[in-house]
Symmetry: C2
C-alpha cells in the first residue's frame, strides 16, 4: 500500500501539510494586484530568515541555479575568484566559476575538514586582486560546516574581496546572520531547512555586492538570472519573468511558519536533533565523517560500518521502515550514508530514524544491542 | 468573498483540478526509484507533445530561463546569430544572445507582422556564417504567429544554420511538428498551452543541435543550464540538479491529459476558440492588432476602442466579472488588451469572456448592442 515516506535526506526534506496546501491556491496574474501582496510578504520574511537589511530574492530555479545566479552576476571573464574545495558542492562552485570564464584561485582542503581562517588569510595575502571568495558553508556531501565562517568573512572583507556564501543546506537550520557576518551574497534553496518543496533558490545581495554587479554589468553572461533586472522589477513588486507561482505560495507559507517559531528556536531545535543523532550513532559504534569541531547540524554523514554497504542499509530502511536516507556523493559514493536533519526535524523523526537504523543494522548482522541509540536520543531530548 | 478567477491571460493560464491535485503528491527522493518512473513518463510524453524522436527535457526555470538555456548552450562569444525582432519577446531573445557574447544579425520586422521566408532567405544569402537563427513562433506581445515557420526552417537548414524556435506561448495549441519542420532546438513553458502552473521550461534538441553543442562545449557559459549534463543524467533517469518536484508531478499529469485528448484535437480546439474570439471582437467593431494572415490562435491582441483605455476594460472585467485579461507590453502598453486562448480553453471560457467584455464596453459608454459578440461565438461553436 502506498504510504507517505519519511524523507531523512539532505534535501529535499519533509514538507508540512500547511505548506503543501498552500500550493493549491489558484493561479494568479503575476502582473496583477494579487501578486504584489504575496511578493511583499515573501521579501520581508526572507530578510528575517537571512537576518539582513539588504535585498533577498527568490529565483525560480534549484539551489545550483542560485549558485549560477551568484556566479553569473559576479564573475566576469578573467576575474580571479577564491574557491576552497572540500567536497562535491564546492567542486561544483569551482566548475561554475570556470564555466563563466573566471580564474579560480584554488585552496584544496581535506574533505573531512573545513578551510580555516588562517588558510584563507594566507592565500589572500599572497594572491592579489581576488574579486570574490566563495565558500560552501555546509558541504552537503561531507556533513562539514565551516565553523570559522564569521572570522573568514572578516578576513575576506579586510582584503577587499566580496564574500559569497553557498548556504543551501544550512540557512534556517544553523547560525548565519548575513549582515553581521559580512556576507555580500548568500544563496540557499527552498527544499532544505526551510521545509519547502524544491524549485526555488533564494539569494541575498549587500550594498558592496550591488556596487560590483552594477560596475561590471555589461561584462556578465546572464539574462534570466540577471539580479539587476530582479531588483528593478522588485521595486514595482514584480518579478522580471514569470515566477514559479505554486512554489511562491509554498515559500510564503513556509516563511510564515519560520516566523511563528522564531529563527533562534528553529536553530536550537536543529542543533538538539543533530546532537541526538551524533550521540546515538556513536553509541552504536558508528563513526561520523567530519572532524568533530566542524560537524554539521543539518547533514549527518556516517561512515559505513565495517563490512556493510550503505546501499544495504538504505534499501532496508526504505523498504522495511519507509524512511529514506541518502548515500555518499563523488569519491564518497559507497562509503557512507547521509541523514538529513532539516526543516520539520524533531524528536519524532530522530527517534524513528534511529530505531529503524538499529533494527536494520541488527538484521544485517552488525553487533548491536537494540535500544542503545534510543537511550542516547532520550537523554538529549529529556535531559 | 474570495472566488477563483478565470485567467484569460496569455499565461499563466487556468490549471485543471487534476493537475493541481498532482502537486499534492508527497515529496520523493529525486535520486531514488520513485523518481525514475515519473521522469520516464514525462520524457516520453514530451516527445509526443513536441512530435519529435529527439530529446526533450524539463528545466526547472521559467520560459525565459528556457530561452537562456538554449542561448547559453548554443551561443558562444562572437558567434553570429540571426534574430528577427518583431515584439517584446524576440527583443528579449536578441538581448539574451548579446548577454552571452553573440553577435546578432538583425532583421527588424514591423510588429503587426512576422518575418517572411523571403526576408530570412535574403539575409542568410547576404550574411555568411550564421550559426543559428532564432525565431519567436508566437509573439506573445503582439498576437502574431509566424505562419511561414515550416518554410523558414527549410531555408535556415539549407543555409547550414541551426533552427531555434521559441514556442513558449504556442506549443500544444497550434501546429509545431518539431522534426518535420526541421527545428533543432524548441523551447516552451509549462504555464501556457500545456495548462500547467508556471515554473518549468521544456526544451528539445535535435541531432544537429547536439553535434554543435558537443563541438563547442568548452566555449559555453553555462553550468546549471548545461544541456549536456541534463542529457547525461537523463540516461540514468535522473536530473543533474534537484528538480522542481511539485511542478514535475503537475507536468506529468498535464501531459497525460494531453495524450488523452490527442494533440490534433487540442490544436483544433484552440483554433476554433480563437476563431470565435476574432469573429466576436470584429462584430463588436473592435480591431485586432496583427495582420490577419499571421494572427495567433493562442493570444488575441485587441486594439483599444477609440477613447477607452485598456486599463478601464481590464479593471472592470476583473472586478465585476472575475475574469483576468492582459494589457499591452513594451511600446504597446496602454494601446491594447490581450486575451489568452490557451490550455483548457473551450466554448465556456470564450463565451464568459465575450459576455463580460460586451457588458464592460457597454458600461464604459462604447456603442454596443448586447449579444452581438455572443451571436458570433455561437455560430462558430454550433455551425
Amino acid at each position: 500500500m502506498e504510504r507517505q515516506q519519511l524523507l531523512m535526506l539532505p534535501g529535499p526534506t519533509n514538507v508540512p501539510p500547511r505548506v503543501m496546501r498552500a500550493m493549491m491556491r489558484p493561479t494568479i496574474n503575476h502582473r496583477g494586484p494579487e501578486f504584489e501582496k504575496l511578493y511583499e510578504d515573501i521579501l520581508e520574511n526572507l530578510k528575517y530568515a537571512f537576518q539582513t537589511h539588504g535585498d533577498v530574492f527568490p529565483i525560480s530555479a534549484s539551489g545550483t541555479g542560485g549558485v549560477e545566479c551568484a556566479v553569473g552576476n559576479l564573475v566576469c571573464p578573467d576575474d580571479r575568484i577564491l574557491v576552497p574545495v572540500h567536497g562535491v558542492f564546492s567542486q561544483r562552485v569551482k566548475e561554475t566559476v570556470e564555466a563563466f570564464g573566471g580564474k579560480v584561485v584554488q585552496l584544496p582542503v581535506d574533505w573531512t575538514t573545513a578551510p580555516s581562517v588562517e588558510q584563507i588569510d594566507e592565500v589572500m595575502e599572497k594572491e592579489k586582486d581576488i574579486k570574490a571568495s566563495i565558500l560552501v558553508y555546509n558541504e552537503t556531501s561531507t556533513g562539514v560546516t565551516v565553523r570559522d565562517l564569521r572570522r573568514i568573512g572578516e578576513v575576506v572583507k579586510r582584503h577587499g574581496s566580496l564574500f559569497v556564501v553557498d548556504a543551501i543546506s544550512i540557512l534556517g537550520g544553523d547560525e548565519l546572520p548575513v549582515d553581521d557576518w559580512h556576507v555580500d551574497v548568500c544563496i540557499t534553496g527552498s527544499q532544505k531547512c526551510l521545509a519547502c518543496p524544491p524549485g526555488l533558490a533564494l539569494i541575498s545581495v549587500s550594498e558592496d555586492g550591488w556596487r560590483t554587479i552594477t560596475r561590471d554589468k555589461d561584462r556578465r553572461h546572464v539574462y534570466y538570472l540577471d539580479l539587476l533586472k530582479t531588483k528593478d522589477s522588485a521595486s514595482k513588486k514584480e518579478t522580471p519573468f514569470t515566477p514559479s507561482l505554486p512554489l511562491y505560495f509554498a515559500l510564503d507559507e513556509a516563511l510564515k511558519i519560520l516566523r511563528e517559531e522564531g529563527l533562534e528556536n528553529r536553530i536550537a531545535r536543529h542543533k538538539k536533533c543533530a546532537n541526538a543523532f551524533y550521540d546515538a550513532l556513536h553509541a552504536l559504534g558508528l563513526s561520523t565523517y567530519p572532524e568533530e569541531v566542524n560537524r554539521s547540524n543539518t547533514v549527518i554523514a556516517t561512515n559505513n560500518p565495517k563490512g556493510i554497504e550503505d546501499r544495504a542499509i538504505r534499501d532496508s530502511m526504505r523498504q522495511k521502515h519507509n524512511i529514506v536516507v541518502g548515500g555518499g556523493m563523488g569519491k564518497l559514493r559507497g562509503a557512507m550514508f547521509r541523514i538529513g536533519c532539516m526543516g520539520i526535524i524533531s524528536e519524532a523523526e530522530v527517534t524513528a530514524t534511529v530505531a529503524a537504523l538499529e533494527l536494520t543494522l541488527y538484521d544485517l548482522g552488525y553487533p548491536v544491542t537494540l535500544g542503545t541509540g534510543l537511550k542516547k536520543t532520550r537523554e538529549v531530548f529529556h535531559a
